[in-house]
Amino acid sequence: MLIIKPKIDFEVNVEAEITPDIATDLEYAKSFTVYYGKLEMSLAELFEVEKEGDSKVIVLEGDFSRVKWIGKGMLDGEIIVRGNAGANYGAFMKGGKIVIEGNADDWIGAEMEGGEIIVKGDAKNLIGCPYWGDLEGMKGGKIVIEGNAGNYIGEKMVSGEIEVRGKAGDFIGTEMKGGLITIHGDCGIVGGDMKAGEIRIGGIFELVPAFRETDDVFVGDVNVKGKGIVRVLTL
């Protein structure tokens, strides 16, 4: 297990594409290249890095809200963020687990393929979404936001699961092609150009006016001849 703490108050954000792979080799971890603005630096120059045991676990202590790209493409192991997290955590993730005890920034689990992300606080926008220009969003795995979430959730999602325990913003499951999104609280616009998959909502929401109502669910979006299902969660 690695314990990583920022050494200084950063002047600009840091990009640290670390995964639990570095947790078992302290020297390798310390020399891992991170980006501090235009400066290429080693992890140990900006962070205190300590090792305890050989488990594939990274614990981030202190404020990581200005450290981006943690867990990019990770395959296994675990990352625990004790405070707030920056943008792009768990992007392209294929396996393992990320737990963020504070709040998360944008692009949590972007284009994620497998594994699990749990945010105990709130998360911002673009959860499990595809980066600009890509045709597929989340392809597998699970994202749970225990607090509230922002706009754009599960866009172009192919498979996997996103659950928001609190409220969410606009554009849930836009152009969704598969998978499951559950929003327990209120949210905004739902289901635009949805092709397939399922969205379940517990609170008040605005369905795109291109769904057909059946006995218990809405089916659409008719504009893309979609077979997506929007279901109202009942207690």
Partner: protein, 557 residues
């Protein structure tokens, strides 16, 4: 001064295919024979192939079209080709940034490229982009085939006025020649339609596609411009379209020019389909190849497709809309007032697709069977794929073994729908030099390019290929050597060493001034009238030489 010693020079224009020295002075090839080696940069090219810089006759490298494509496709720019340092950062997968375009061309030995489709209203933009492409020489062809004033002059059957108009436009736009895209069809698209044969009529003007093409050929020949008209035929991308292509080619009958062709038909692969639909689509090259080989006034370029990503972009608005509907992919359209249209749609060519496989084969059939003196290698960048895969195309033409290997990847439908499997021909290095150097130079009327005779531009390339020991079966080595020049010299400056950028200079933009041959007065009333309908004032329409980085005016007349 540079001395390239002992290289094996292949220069078909001057009948050279042997070991000899080349001396470069003041940016040109010199025939001086008393040379003080101490004053020269000496390049020992013993056992290496030495040729002129190659010319891309048709690549959409600058203009609103490719730039809209860039804006629409950020996913294309995640491939890093070069980080910033002494030279510019260069990025792009199949769509490249302007710096990347210049660098990638010279790395594989290309030193000149032609932007083949600029709407005049947007041509100042085209020149700004050309001016941002490092190293290579370039030129742009304004679009004429759907211009209202062209329809008007053709309706009046007034070739003299049409010629005056062409020379007025080339001077205003600093253009090099006459491009025609889906003549009449793009105007029909403004009404939601298209032109499907050369006898279709243009709405409002009642002139036929046939009239437009013959009128433009005649006007171009009246001006005797360096290049002939350069046409993208009607019905591009439609099964059975080879018949339209043959009909179009026959329009050149009886019109001759002693120096060159009178009709250049571009990216012919896209216009050489047989069949009545996608289910029985096949190669329609046979008649086209026969016609081109027996004619002395028609030339073509291939329009090879490369399996993988591409971005289609043409002035052919209706074709691009059809492609958008077919692929359900994102689509840019730009209708340009009174002049032309434009469209952009991304595409992936898959070897698993029967149609794409046949398209791949069609272009190779053209490359193998059309006389290399009348044919040029192209991908219609970025329509058929990236230009940095030209070495792949060259190697396929050189090596039957490589073709067989690649055919195994392709869909087996190719075996019955294309003629390629039965073609044994292997092109020689000299053929390839023709199809990349001497032919495009002659077709474009660029007499200082495409060869290494005295006074030619000192655009010289040294490849790690020994023609004396050339073995087409070693295709991997050949492709690698052609991809990465040992040296590229541009205008007398070494710009590439061992496949890496070694020098950054600015090339020229060539344009043709034919105004001595015409009188602008005869079209004055028409221009006055038509500028009422433009949204740009006549005085603010066009490009001045002083706004360009290095303009080179080529005067005819």
């Amino acid at each position: 001064m540079i001395l390239v010693k002992n290289g094996h020079v292949i220069d078909p224009v001057n009948g050279i295919n042997e070991e000899m020295d080349l001396f470069i002075k003041n940016g040109r090839i010199s025939s001086e024979f008393k040379i003080n080696e101490k004053e020269c940069e000496v390049i020992d090219a013993k056992g290496k192939l030495v040729v002129a810089g190659a010319i891309d006759i048709h690549a959409h490298i600058a203009a609103r079209k490719i730039n809209s494509g860039r804006a629409m496709r950020p996913e294309e720019f995640r491939r890093v080709r070069q980080k910033t340092g002494k030279f510019r950062a260069a990025v792009g997968r199949t769509l490249l940034t302007a710096p990347a375009i210049g660098y990638e061309y010279v790395k594989m030995g290309y030193t000149t490229a032609i932007e083949p489709a600029t709407p005049s209203l947007y041509t100042l933009h085209t020149h700004e982009e050309l001016d941002s492409i490092p190293i290579i020489d370039k030129a742009a062809l304004p679009l004429f085939g759907n211009w209202h004033l062209v329809f008007k002059f053709i309706a009046e059957n007034d070739i003299e006025k049409l010629a005056s108009f062409i020379s007025w436009v080339l001077e205003k736009m600093k253009g090099y020649g006459v491009k025609v895209v889906n003549p009449g069809g793009v105007e029909a698209w403004m009404y939601g339609s298209n032109a499907h044969s050369i006898d279709d009529l243009v709405p409002y003007y009642d002139v036929s596609v046939r009239d437009i093409i013959t009128g433009l050929i005649k006007a171009n020949e009246m001006l005797d411009l360096p290049h002939s008209i350069h046409i993208h035929c009607n019905n591009l991308g439609e099964p059975g379209n080879y018949e339209t292509t043959v009909d179009t080619m026959k329009l050149a009958n009886g019109i001759r020019n002693n120096r060159r062709q009178v009709l250049h038909v571009t990216h012919v692969q896209f216009n050489a389909f047989s069949g009545s639909g996608w289910k029985d689509m096949g190669s329609g090259t046979e008649e086209i190849i026969k016609l081109v080989n027996k004619s002395d006034n028609i030339t073509i370029d291939m329009g090879q497709v490369i399996f993988g990503h591409a971005t289609t972009m043409t002035a052919d608005g209706p074709f691009q809309f059809d492609l958008h509907k077919l692929l359900k992919n994102k689509w840019i359209n730009l209708d340009v007032e009174l002049e032309t249209g434009t469209g952009v749609v991304p595409l992936i060519y898959r070897p698993s697709s029967p149609v794409h496989s046949v398209m791949w084969a069609i272009a190779l059939e053209l490359g193998l069977l059309v006389n290399p003196d009348k044919n040029v290698i192209s991908t219609d960048y970025p329509n058929g794929g990236p230009f940095d895969r030209y070495p792949y195309i060259m190697t396929l033409l050189l090596s039957r073994k490589y073709r067989e290997k690649e055919m195994e990847r392709a869909h087996k439908y190719l075996q019955r729908a294309a003629n390629l499997p039965s073609i044994d021909i292997e092109r020689t290095l000299e053929d390839i030099v023709k199809m990349t150097r001497s032919s495009p130079a002659r077709i474009l009327g660029m007499h200082n390019k495409g060869h290494l005779g005295e006074g030619a531009d000192a655009d010289v390339v040294v490849y790690d290929i020994n023609p004396a020991e050339f073995n087409p079966d070693k295709y991997r080595e050949i492709e690698k050597a052609l991809s990465s020049a040992l040296f590229t010299i541009k205008g007398g400056t070494v710009v590439v060493k061992n496949g890496k950028i070694a020098g950054d200079i600015w090339g020229r933009t060539m344009w043709v001034d034919a105004t001595l041959r015409t009188t602008a007065e005869i079209i004055e009333p028409d221009l006055e009238e038509y500028f009422n309908y433009y949204t740009v004032n006549r005085e603010n329409y066009g490009v001045e030489e002083r706004w360009m980085r290095r303009a080179e005016r080529i005067e005819v007349g």
